[in-house]
Symmetry: C2
Subunit: 220 residues, 2 copies
DNA sequence: ATTATTTTTGACCGATTGGTAAAGATTACA
DNA sequence: TGTAATCTTTACCAATCGGTCAAAAATAAT
């Protein structure tokens, strides 16, 4: 049995190093071109190693991509998992939005890898979406619903609330090129994430309607 | 000069028909796999025609993609162009959100084509983003700013407001697979767009903070 | 120092890629 | 109907694709 196939055996220093280099290079390439648009040669060159050498560590292109997706899905849902039923509702949502925005800032490649996968029909993660993801979202949606019933949050569809948090935060990673093009050179610095954080807090907790024209009724 | 190269000459019925068939098939393929992930053979087969025949109408893969992008950019910005300074601010924003959501519903392929292009670094539309798009957004942001100064809207960063409208509405096209996976079979019908419309109206004009705990000060 | 193992390489494979050449089929028009 | 222009197809090309193989090189174990 070759080294790459032995999962139980402990790995060499060289194995660990090279696997990491390959995955890092593959993340660059896959997140930019999608699965079908990426080539093993590209990844190998980006990892500074020959193609057969790369294929010594990962037997197929699918294997590299699959490993990336697996590791991503673990980390990607952490912020939602952390949402705590016992915490203050407004603070919990606020914190979730902020954590997701930080992930868009700190892990844009992962966000794009995920976006590419979904955009292209999610053939390799459909089961995760319909299984673990749906369960997690349903569970948290139920918590949010209870918060709303308790008057701690204004009532709305919690599923679509979660969608809107995903959409607005990941937008800053996935559509980064557009965001920076529109903001212009002087507002495209790292500070754009602070501006985004401020705006999202405004959006989710205040809303556009000006004071004095609120659609909300005062509590009886 | 061949038919396909003659721009001034009027086109045959067959030309118009086949060009349309090709562009429609290409939209299917490109929006699902991105530029690099799509092949001319795929497009030709989807258009029900041989590859050389397709290449008789469009000389290269880039030519097809470019034509799609050009037509898309025209239509894509219409809703924003329609935002009217003279209209009621709340109604104008509300209408813009709704129009964008309708486009996500009615033209998901176009939305995904655009998303793929941005996601992959926008090599073919960077100039449009930094030029016409930025100008249009800046112009409308200025209008929104004036509305806010006049007390017609709560104050926030208008650029990020526009981003959030793009993000939340296009999400329902670009991440459709995920949306439907999470909502489950019985809530994934066409009605999900009505739910989304209701929710987005809530989000942008009311916000999560429950009545009685508003961060907004009452008007003096 | 020798052996066993792991790592790396160059040469190669069949399939697919974007695209071409040229001849044949069809159409429009006189 | 004749004919010129348009349209379509078959056969093909070089380049690149994902992946294999055997052997060399480097490393680890004895």
């Amino acid at each position: 049995m070759t080294a790459r196939a032995s999962r139980t055996q402990r790995r060499t220093r060289i194995q660990l190093e090279n696997e990491q280099r390959i995955l890092d290079a593959a993340l660059d390439v896959f997140s930019l071109h999608g699965f079908r648009g990426s080539t093993i040669d590209q990844i190998a060159e980006s990892a500074g190693m020959s193609k057969p050498n790369l294929l010594y560590y990962f037997r197929t292109k699918e294997a590299i991509h699959g490993e990336l997706i697996d590791r991503l899905m673990e980390k990607w849902l952490d912020p939602l998992r952390e949402m705590d039923q016992a915490g203050d509702p407004v603070q919990e949502i606020r914190r979730y939005i902020l954590r997701k925005l930080e992930m868009a800032r700190d892990y844009p490649r992962e966000s794009r890898l995920f976006a590419n996968e979904i955009l292209q029909g999610a053939p390799r993660i459909e089961s995760v979406l319909k299984g673990p993801l749906k369960r997690l979202v349903d569970e948290k949606a139920e918590i949010i619903k209870r918060w709303m019933a308790d008057g701690k949050l204004a009532k709305c569809d919690p599923h679509h609330l979660i969608f809107s948090i995903w959409a607005t935060t990941q937008h800053y990673a996935d559509f980064d090129v557009q965001v920076r093009a529109v903001l212009g050179p002087h507002k495209s610095g790292p500070g754009r994430f602070d501006d985004a954080a401020r705006f999202l807090d405004f959006l989710f907790f205040d809303g556009l309607r000006p004071v004095g024209q609120s659609g909300k009724k005062t509590p009886s």
